[in-house]
């Protein structure tokens, strides 16, 4: 994990509590969502629901679960796993908070900016 593989996406406050935002960066062409829980924990997932690729960043965040806006699947924020009995996983992306700024792990060349 080389240092420049960690992208600084700005302060924790730029994400609404119990909410989420999509990044302008993608991983291998797939969008990324960063979530902030009510208790200020942050997580990042590939922003595609394992069901039909609904944008998880538009879902409702309760505890450590986001509910997909398209057909209400629940997805665990930490593992990306769908809540049983649904099955599937949205890829989790490593993330850390340094000095109040969020850094996500997006190694080159997987990263590309949205055109």
């Amino acid at each position: 994990m080389s240092a420049h593989d960690w992208k600084n996406i700005g302060p924790l406050e730029s994400i609404p509590r119990s909410g989420s935002r999509r990044l302008c960066l993608r991983q291998a062409g797939r969008p990324i969502a960063v979530f902030r829980t009510r208790d200020d924990e942050v997580f990042a997932l590939i922003d595609e629901c394992p069901h039909k690729r609904g944008p998880l960043s538009e879902g409702l965040v309760s505890g450590k679960t986001v509910t997909c806006p398209l057909h209400n699947w629940g997805i665990a924020l930490d593992s990306g796993e769908a809540v049983a009995p649904d099955e599937g996983r949205a890829g989790p992306i490593p993330l850390r908070v340094v000095d109040g700024n969020i850094h996500v792990y997006l190694p080159e060349p997987a990263v590309e900016a949205i055109a």
Binding site: N8, P16, S18, C24, L60, S62, T65, T67, P69, E87
Partner: protein, 827 residues
């Protein structure tokens, strides 16, 4: 071709190669993985089709428009990945080398096997006639065929289906549903002659004829004519039927070429024993490609049994045995109920046929008895007892005692002999089969419901697979759910969600009486199990607080569904739709110009007139929303709240101003109603309509609030609903002035807002509390009505804000933009 080769590799212990990625193959793999012994395989699956495993049965529903292709996927790619299965789609296995123990594909992929599973299904049969090669001719077997048919239905008119069996009839019905003119050619005098006797076949033909399918029975096809596309179907007797699309559905034949070339024992299909092994003990076969004890298969029920046995055997179980059972057939055409099993008629004089025929209601039943046992049943028009008869047949039960009553069905037969009237699930034996496709019995369902505490149909489907294939048993599964979950008294109390023991009314009462003014306060007062609630209760609490404390409670955006948060409707591809308000359905050239300009400027792909008399701009990018709204706002257009649990549209007809029948100014009244009520938040969406006379062109009688103008004034109707369960309105009252209409409307809105449960439309609410209650509150209590209306108008002073205008001028701007990368690399 697609291969998911990036799987985390599990150490290969034994290689299992599967030829065919269809229903039989993947059900076998699912069964195999349930066993501990299943873990010792490294599995590779070849599928000739480019798709993952899907529910082939449902192709009929896709064709008829009842289901989307993506809804019939059984196992998505992730499933293969998670189970470590190497999946190769769009590539056909072309050779099996039994000496080298390898299979080779068309693309040259060669994979060694320790065990091989052949599940190649079957091929559609084609008649030997000229013209089969013409474009416009297809079979009905896979997604590619359905794509062809749907494409033809979009651009062409005439379809001819050849074959009057289950498949042909479902194809014909689907194409008819898609708006084509459909003719069906069938060789025999009656339809589905192998599953139905002549009488039932004729009833079926009569019903489908009424639904616009033209039948050519005893029709032998001679030729499909056309130059570079199909043009017509020519019959031996000289009749010619125009055809842009010809669907062949005359039958299927096991797909056995590979097995033949590999030297396996073959008859009509690949011969397998009770252990599902072919003549080579390392090679198994399941599904429509096999022949077991002289029998070949064309329905999933026995195939699921084969899969179970084959999966167990592969996992090392030495005892599993496949035995075929009596099968039943039904037809998946909405509104046509057909069921048959076993013998269609008496084989000789010692057999007995008992028939019941009710011409006017279109019901026909026939049972065939042999030595006091049921050996056959044909049902038309009323088929709920189908599985019950099937069970009597399978169990070879002695039915002599029931003989006289048997044909009248289960309830009657058992009632007379002391049983219960309705279906008695308590008394029903646990091994009574409910879902024919998946072989799920009553006992399995009840057990799953009780041990896993299931409360919804979809949960039962997910855990038992009952009603998950063709869906015919859905009603019964729902009844069992009611029976089994009803025992648990707590499950019948409709709590707001799993976070709480309180129901909706209790929550509302607590908010009011204990003056609770925040969600945290409600959750604390009522001992919520999760401190933060869940996606079900949060929107409900947010609404209840908003309704109770207008002007005081601050709306919580994070508890709102995305549509209500972004003030636009999310679409399946993640873009949004924008529907501006058109008051009472009226618009102006200037507004239309503004809409046209916005659509061009932002390259909005679809502009559509909605079912609610306004215009929808579909496919708007999220980032563009504020700018789109800003442009629309300049022309005076505001949000139509097409996304809100609030007032949607007020449909009107032209009324007195233009229409020769109009009795009042229905358009003007509609505009007044909409101006009064827009922007309000309600438990669920609310729709109004005003019609200028009882011809009711605005469809007021299926709206939450409908007004029908008459000479003497206005009839106010409430509690109507289109949608899933259509409900016609109840008449609330007749009034004589517009002012009264407006006051009643305000009072009705407020009563609904204060007393209905969140997510309950006015129709189920009134069905629950009764129209008499609503009349008592609104009609008989004039003072109460006045107060309700006042409370509504007060709350409207905070609600009538255009959310688009706010956001176009910068409110919550960041919500519409992706997060930027800031400093780049972290030092």
């Amino acid at each position: 071709m697609y291969i998911n080769d990036d799987l985390a590799r599990i150490p290969p212990i034994a290689q299992l190669v599967v030829i065919g990625n269809g229903m039989a193959a993947m059900r076998t793999v699912e069964e195999l993985l349930k066993h501990e012994g299943g873990k010792r395989y490294r599995i590779t699956v070849f599928g000739a089709e480019p798709h993952v495993n899907y529910n082939r049965i449902m192709l009929s529903s896709v064709l008829a428009g009842d289901k989307q292709l993506d809804e019939i996927v059984i196992n998505p790619r992730e499933w293969y990945e998670e189970n470590g299965i190497r999946l190769i789609t769009g590539d056909e296995v072309t050779a099996i080398d039994r000496d080298a123990r390898t299979v080779t594909s068309a693309n040259g992929i060669c994979v060694p096997y320790d065990r091989l599973l052949i599940a190649t299904g079957s091929k559609p049969l084609a008649p030997r006639i000229p013209g089969l090669e013409l474009p416009g001719v297809c079979a009905f077997r896979d997604i590619a065929d359905v794509d062809k048919m749907l494409a033809a239905a979009r651009t062409h008119r005439h379809a001819v289906v050849i074959g009057g069996g289950l498949l042909g009839l479902e194809a014909a019905w689907g194409l008819r549903q898609r708006g084509m003119s459909v003719a069906l050619v069938h060789l025999m005098p009656t339809l589905m002659e192998r599953q139905l006797d002549a009488a039932a076949g004729q009833l079926l033909q009569r019903d489908l004829d009424r639904r616009g399918i033209a039948f050519f029975t005893e029709g032998q096809t001679k030729e499909i004519t056309g130059v570079d596309h199909a043009e017509s179907v020519l019959l031996e007797d000289g009749r010619e039927i125009p055809a842009d699309l010809v669907v062949l559905a005359i039958g299927i034949r096991p797909r056995i070429e590979l097995a033949v070339a590999a030297g396996l024992e073959i008859n009509r299909g690949i011969v397998v024993g009770d252990d599902m092994r072919t003549s080579d003990p390392l090679i198994f076969a399941v599904g429509e490609c096999v022949e077991h004890r002289g029998q070949v298969f064309g329905l999933v029920a026995p195939i699921w049994d084969q899969a179970k046995v084959c999966g167990a055997r592969l996992a090392g179980d030495q005892a599993a045995i496949f035995a075929s059972k009596a099968l039943s057939t039904s037809l998946k055409i909405t509104g046509v109920e057909v069921f048959s099993a076993g013998a269609l008629m008496a084989a000789d004089e010692s057999d007995e046929e008992i028939m019941l025929r009710d011409e006017s209601s279109g019901v026909y039943k026939k049972i065939v008895l042999r030595d006091g046992r049921l050996v056959g049943v044909v049902l038309y028009g009323h088929v709920v007892d189908g599985q019950w008869y099937l069970k009597l047949m399978r169990d070879k039960e002695d039915v002599s005692a029931l003989r006289e009553r048997l044909v009248f069905g289960k309830a009657f037969a058992e009632a007379e002999s002391g049983g219960a009237q309705a279906v008695d699930y308590e008394a029903m034996r646990d091994d009574t089969q409910i879902c024919g496709c998946n072989g799920v019995c009553k006992g399995d369902i009840v057990k799953a419901i009780r041990t896993l505490k299931l409360t919804t149909l979809s949960e039962v489907r997910a855990h038992t697979k009952a009603s998950a294939s063709c869906g015919q048993c859905t009603g019964q599964v729902e009844e069992i759910l009611a029976y089994a979950a009803g025992v648990d008294a707590k499950a019948t109390k409709k709590t707001v969600c799993d976070c709480t023991e309180a129901d909706h009314d209790e929550v509302r009462a607590a908010i009011r009486t204990q003056q609770l003014k925040s969600m945290d306060a409600v959750r604390a007062a009522l001992a919520w199990k999760k401190p933060e609630g869940c996606h079900k209760c949060r929107p409900a609490l947010n609404y209840y607080l908003l309704c109770e404390w207008p002007g005081e409670y601050q709306d919580d955006a994070s508890s709102r569904f995305v549509n209500e948060r972004l003030h636009a409707n999310i679409q399946k591809d993640g873009t949004y739709s924008v529907v501006p308000r058109m008051w009472g359905g009226l618009t102006t050239p200037a507004e239309l110009h503004a809409i046209a300009d916005v659509a061009e400027k932002f390259k909005i792909p679809t502009v559509k007139v909605t079912g609610g008399q306004r215009i929808d701009l579909l496919g708007v990018k999220k980032e563009d929303l504020p700018a789109v709204w800003s442009d629309l706002g300049q022309a005076g257009l505001v949000s139509g709240h097409a996304y809100a649990k609030g007032l949607r549209t007020v449909k009107t007809c032209v009324g007195k101003e233009w229409c020769r029948f109009g009795t009042q100014d229905s358009t003007g009244l509609g505009v007044k109603l909409e101006k009064m009520c827009w922007g309000s938040w309600t438990p669920h969406k609310v729709k109004f309509a005003v019609s200028g006379c009882p011809r009711n062109c605005a469809e007021a009688s299926i709206k939450d609030l409908g007004v029908i103008c008459i000479d003497a004034g206005y009839d106010l109707l409430v509690g109507g609903n289109g949608g899933v369960d259509v409900r016609v309105t109840d008449l609330l009252v007749r009034v004589s002035t517009e002012d009264e209409v407006l006051q009643y409307a305000g009072a009705f809105m407020q009563l609904y807002r204060e007393e209905a449960h969140y997510m309950e439309r006015s129709a189920p609410w009134i069905a629950r509390v009764g129209i008499d209650y609503v009349k008592r509150r609104l009609v008989e209590d004039a003072e109460g009505r006045e107060q309700l209306c006042q409370r509504f108008l007060y709350s409207q002073t905070f609600a009538r804000v255009d959310p688009w205008h706010e956001r176009a001028s910068g409110v919550a701007a960041e919500a519409f933009q992706p997060l930027p990368e800031l400093a780049g690399a972290l030092a």
